[in-house]
Symmetry: D2
Subunit: 346 residues, 4 copies
């Protein structure tokens, strides 16, 4: 059975595993105070061109969103997100669990628009009853989004400017950041992200690591006693080395970027192959997630040979499915998948 | 520099790493629905002689305590713990973060006593104002305790009987469970634990894994929608395989017990060596943590060569330090440590 | 200055105050265990024709929503509400503060529709990833709604049927319930509400009391240890008598219904007067809140003489304002208001 | 049946009720933005000799503790309290409900000692693992304490100095503050409290009001957006006037202090009468709560005629009961109680 269901069906990139193996018996302190974490922090700061950034390592994506958002918000504040944002729909209420509301605004292919954000914030502060409402205390975006789409540098600049006008931080969920940076259709680099965002995380779990996300605070704005908050949220790893070693490997010799580019190449091959066969796309995604619209019978037929994700049902006859490539996707498997998918009358 | 500061200074046992390597590129579903988790669950059920146990995998100890306790308590209930319980003092308030009070009762070398527990529960329900107080909704014990001590089978039976009388679950924190089971001075086995406890976890992080704890609900009492609660608490690992593979390795061919026994052997060697040199012990620990009382100057001298943990200061002249062995401790290092520690006049 | 800004600009109905005065020095126990609370409970049960209902008294509306919703939801559940529901927008995140998400669905003049609710619930359970999402655990409606509108008996029956199909409770926010019951355009009575809802509250603060809301659980479904939860949420009044005495007075000799009817009569007079003068209504409200659309200059002119609430801005030239009557509104003041509002060209 | 069970068995002082009656139909805005609240604030500032104090009105004691403590703590901080502090034992976990731990330290007749507080704080910061623990973020004291005892001015000064050394606020729970200020054995006045405490509340519920507590922040340190936090915690009263009018009455013509003095006079009469009859006191309380030690049979006999509170059981034969006077206690009832209590052999 082929699997294109997600980008976490395999373990870790071999160089990551080798580094874990190689450093395994060296004794280091716990709680991310080890030399591997320190080295990884330095390499990430360099990659962000942000030498004073504070870098922390957490285990997973929902956890990272929960800890960062809770730690950056005042108690009476909520986080603004696209209605399709991962924090709004697919984190089992982890943000609300910490006491904060997700303030949903409209989405456009998974993205928010600076103008709509500004309208929302202006309307909030103009409302005479706003002291009875949850204050918008930060803005959450994902890049790539839940639909595989990317912000342009100009879009990020505009959203960032709105945030600064209203004096609230901009936070980027980079669970799949590598696949965004490696896209052929983007002008957004890590330093650009570091410039426009006040905090973000570089996803490891979906981009070559067994687990792990690197949180970056770019403006000397790491929340006070952040590691205590991490512990309080059950998010501290005793063997912090496990995260440090992995990110150290990923940020050595461009590994993070190279393996991300491989996933993009596989996605491009898949996209072109499917286009040639007459398939239509739900969204034009420049990253590793591809969304195609199938007739329901096609979905059932495909299910026998391939694992994929059912995304949504635009109408009673059709289904949108997601096919995801990753650093581990082989060209052979892409070919097999294309062979399985029949030519459609165009 | 030698380190005896804790039992998580190294990575994972080589067989654990090899299994991660060996299974690395096999595609499996996320969120612990993979075959390795399934296999590990079966092996743990067998080891517990509890074929109907529900087994879940989480990442770390504080996280596990937070998720299990929060999910088993009603909203108005708290968890009873020894005042020295890890949940009461060293988890940065993770239990309170979930809205629940830790109800501290006296400790005796880290353990609670069935009689004192019963008195506490009787007094609570006899108090006419108890509806204004946090209800004791479960009991937390650690085994080994924070002082390395162990409950006897009889003690567990008595505590369990009190819990059943008051109809509240007994939960055991087994962060170092392997070192308890492998002690030469215990009659408590995994099946005994499964009989007397309603829930417990088998610690992986401190006993040979990179990370990971296996939660066991023994009485068909797993909280409803437990995995959704896990996600809500930021505790779900996308690549659940990482946990499943490790526990599968640890519970193959008795590995978990053998490597635990090694740590105990190293601790015994250390204990006997120190006794012979005239050192006195703060507590008589039958497990991998050894607590010795030093004069303050001795502490400073030792610090130059060895990493250890400062535990407490019984008076102005003395300090209790903890020396911990683990599955990874070498006999060579124990010898080096003993050489470093001078003979004392007895 | 006239005030029509809300229905809580005055104190309490004189009969409520007199009863407080009359019982003032009689010694009774605290925490709502007094005879006045007991008497009020009986009268409310009778008015609901629900002799086995559990009745509790809380202080305010947001507090009541927070306590009831938190106590009825499992930890991983959220509450479904119209996007315009008070709990979603105007309670400063009190629901999220308790760890639960408000799951917003579309509104139609402040109401939800049974069909849309059913679609939402079906889609949730059909989603293969629903264990990663907040489970819909109860349904919140307000009656009258935030727009003064009312559900019909048939609408309530349909919504209730959907809730029962999915085995989740239906909860009604009755902050202004009296004004709904007293409307000339409703077939919904208290017994109807008690039949279709699993929990609701009868608002006192806005209908003749100084403060106080009466929570009714109709199906022997009061949450276990509810008063302990009330205390935990800071919602328990030491002098519970204050609430009991007031509700006892309000439910004696039909007072609650009579004073509500007065407010409706005043609203009708106001509505007809404004219609005659050519004003247009934003919504056709059958209760005590009337929403009219004014040109912005009209708003500014009116502000000099009358206090009212600005509701929303449908476009750049117009503003919707709310005029609220209450049990305390005098006919004289309605006449004055009508005199102040100029005839418009029709 | 006589009642000395607590100081909230009656309604409100007649002057408070009269003021509610007199102002009842005057239209004012909601949410404590009315002129009565404003007037009460001014009078409280004057009584505190703290012209720049921020004053807010909340409904009850547990609620006030919950809101003030949650709003003043950082997320990773807890509140230090005597183990017998109301927040630690009798608020159903309201503090933990907001995510914060109560850090219990020893008590001496209900009071904490500056020296022990300092030792605790020093030990916390000296502990190398303190980043894994809940940080002590404020200090809670009650005055009078749960045992009716009072801090001296010197004791307050010392505790305040320790708090300032560690840069954490000192918060006083004044549920019964009036009875403390009116004691014949105190040098602590309201201005003294305002000088040494960073926040406190003046209890209304137990001292002449139907409900209501006045929170005072003395150092321009009111938490940002405090009223939004109040709303979020379900603690905002729509008819804020109810609180403002009552405190305005209580702080007019010294009423608060005069009615408190009456309670003290009744307590003194009771105390002297009981001493003369040979009763022994559990604690020497200079305020309105008197604690006497009875034989268990005496308790049962007394129960037939008098309501009182059972406090604790020092041994199997004896019981400590509490007799509380209040602003409403009549001399006649004190005489009746004394008549009921038999002379004991001295």
């Amino acid at each position: 059975m082929l699997s294109f269901s997600c980008d976490y069906n395999e373990g870790a990139h071999i160089k990551v595993l080798e580094k874990l193996m190689e450093t395994n018996l060296i004794q280091v302190p716990g709680y991310s105070e080890d030399k591997y974490c320190q080295s990884a922090r330095e390499k990430i700061r360099a990659a962000c061109e942000c030498p004073e950034a504070d870098v922390f390592f957490l285990v997973g994506g929902t956890q990272t969103n929960m800890v960062v958002i809770d730690s950056m918000l005042a108690k009476y504040e909520g986080v603004v997100s696209a209605v399709t944002g991962h924090v709004n729909g697919h984190e089992a209420g982890a943000i609300e669990f910490t006491g904060h509301k997700v303030l949903a605004i409209p989405q456009h292919e998974g993205k928010i628009r600076a103008g709509e954000l500004e309208d929302y914030l202006e309307a909030f502060w103009a409302d005479e009853t706003h002291s009875h409402m949850v204050h918008p205390g930060m803005v959450y975006i994902s890049h790539p989004t839940e639909y595989g789409t990317l912000y342009t540098k100009d879009e990020l600049a505009s959203i960032s400017a709105v945030c600064r006008r209203f004096d609230i931080p901009l936070y980027m969920d980079g669970a799949r950041m590598g696949y965004g940076l490696a896209s052929y259709r983007t002008d957004v680099t890590l330093p650009v992200i570091a410039e426009y965002c006040d905090a973000f995380y570089i996803g490891g779990t979906k981009v070559g690591a067994l687990c792990g996300e690197a949180v970056v605070f770019t403006k000397k704005n790491a929340p006070k006693c952040f590691m205590t908050i991490v512990k309080q949220h059950g998010a501290m790893l005793a063997k912090g080395r496990v995260l440090g070693v992995q990110f150290d490997a990923l940020f050595t010799d461009n590994l993070y970027f190279e393996i991300s580019r491989h996933a993009i190449d596989m996605a491009e091959k898949l996209r072109k192959g499917l286009e040639a066969k007459g398939y239509s796309f739900y969204i034009d995604s420049p990253t590793n997630q591809q969304f195609i619209v199938l007739e329901n019978e096609e979905v059932e037929a495909l299910r026998e040979h391939v694992m994929f994700s059912v995304w949504e049902k635009p109408d009673d006859e059709h289904t949108v499915i997601r096919l995801a490539t990753s650093w581990a996707t082989t060209e052979e498997n892409v070919d097999k998948l294309l062979d399985l998918m029949q030519d459609r009358a165009i």
